[in-house]
């Protein structure tokens, strides 16, 4: 697994400088599982590079042979740019492995933790996230 060159650049530049960045600053993240992260594989239907949140829609095949459309939420374009995830990072048809904190009410949606493309590129919206308990200065 490799991290994209762009992401390395941003991490190198900003780690330690950004401080505690909220996961999803526009709304509470308490609708998602606080700690449980699940992994899903599927095919990208659409990547919306939008405010206040970006959305990745992925068709996931289930055990019964059917398919479910999942929606994964990440930060908006500015934060994704700073995280090295560009507007053209994901195209319809891309095969992806998504790690998500799923919704607690059971619907097929969640917070985007990481997305790994078939070439191994890892797309992490929050590469500079440090624990809020990190020293303030």
């Amino acid at each position: 697994m490799r991290i994209s060159y762009a992401a390395i650049g941003v991490i190198g530049l900003l780690s330690g400088a950004l401080g505690a960045v909220p996961a999803l600053s526009h709304h509470s993240g308490a609708m998602f599982e606080p700690e449980k992260v699940i992994t899903l594989e599927g095919t990208v239907k659409q990547f919306e590079y939008t405010n206040p949140h970006s959305w990745l829609y992925v068709v996931v095949h289930n055990d019964q042979g059917g398919e479910t459309l999942w929606g994964f939420e990440a930060e908006g374009p500015s934060a994704l740019m700073r995280a090295g995830i560009r507007a053209n990072a994901l195209q319809p048809g891309d095969q992806v492995t998504v790690r998500t904190r799923p919704l607690r009410d059971g619907r097929p949606g969640g917070a985007w933790v990481t997305v790994t493309k078939s070439d191994g590129t890892v797309l992490n919206p929050r590469p500079s996230l440090v624990p809020a308990s990190a020293p303030a200065n």
Binding site: L13, L14, A17, L18, G19, A20, V21, P22, A23, S25, H26, H27, S28, G29, A30, M31, P34, E48, T50, N51, P52, H53, W55, Y57, T68, L69, G71, E73, G76, P77, S78, M81, R82, L103, R104, D105, R107, P108, G109, P131, A132, S133, A134, A136, N137
Partner: protein, 294 residues
Amino acid sequence: MPSFHRGATVARLLLGAAVLAASSHAPALAQQKGVTPFGLSQADRTKVIATLPNWSGLWNPVGGLIFDPSTADPKGNNAQQPGDREHPPYNAEWEAKYKAKLDHTLAGYFTDPITNCLPHGMPRLMGGIPGPLEFVVTPELTFIIWEYGPQLRRIYTDGRGHLPVEERFDSWTGHSIGHWEGETLVIDTVSMRDDTPYDRTGAPHSSKVHLIERMRLVDKDIFENDMTIEDPVAFTQPWHINRRYRRIPSDTFVGDVACTETQHSPIVNGQTQFILPGDPPGYLVGPMPMPPKK
């Protein structure tokens, strides 16, 4: 403010501003050094600019999104999890109001007003919003610009006062007047709406809240805002908060964070929604109490 004659010296104009300001309603600014009226010649204005600090660049708040990191409970919280709180010096009535809000969140309702795309408002902008933020320092006023919104504060350093008490009305950012003490900007802010909590924990303030800030560079990469908040309705004593902001690389991408562009999470029926394309017709998220901690 009356108009000023072109060609007068800076010193004379500053004196004029001091005389005028002394008769206006600026009780917190007893002395009016460090202000510059509008209308100077650009040559005289340039002399004032040379005395002002360089706050250019991009800044991110240090200490997370809780307004007062020093009283965060649990320690180090980022105001994101139900139960996260801080300890303003509330009187019993306002502590009870805050407790009721915290209990409502623990019961599974997530109702931060900014989720409905309302402005963060003041004082929250100085501690309960992610960066980056930028300062535009001019002789007559200083702007603070946040990427998120975008949102903007205007801090007048032209010698004006606040509106007379009987004419004041509340707004999102309130009314800010300031003056320079050396390279420290001292700001007095009133008339802030009482429906803007300090941060996502929901800590409330009254419409009588009065904020004094002292902003300065600690060094070239650390900016400090030393705040004293008086709230005669809600507090038993002034609340002192020291917030810092750290410089990030100036070529960091900055763009729009326009909340209403695609709103998947409006607050409906007192709850933050999360709209998915496959939702059943009329589906609304109900209360989602947090599972007990293991």
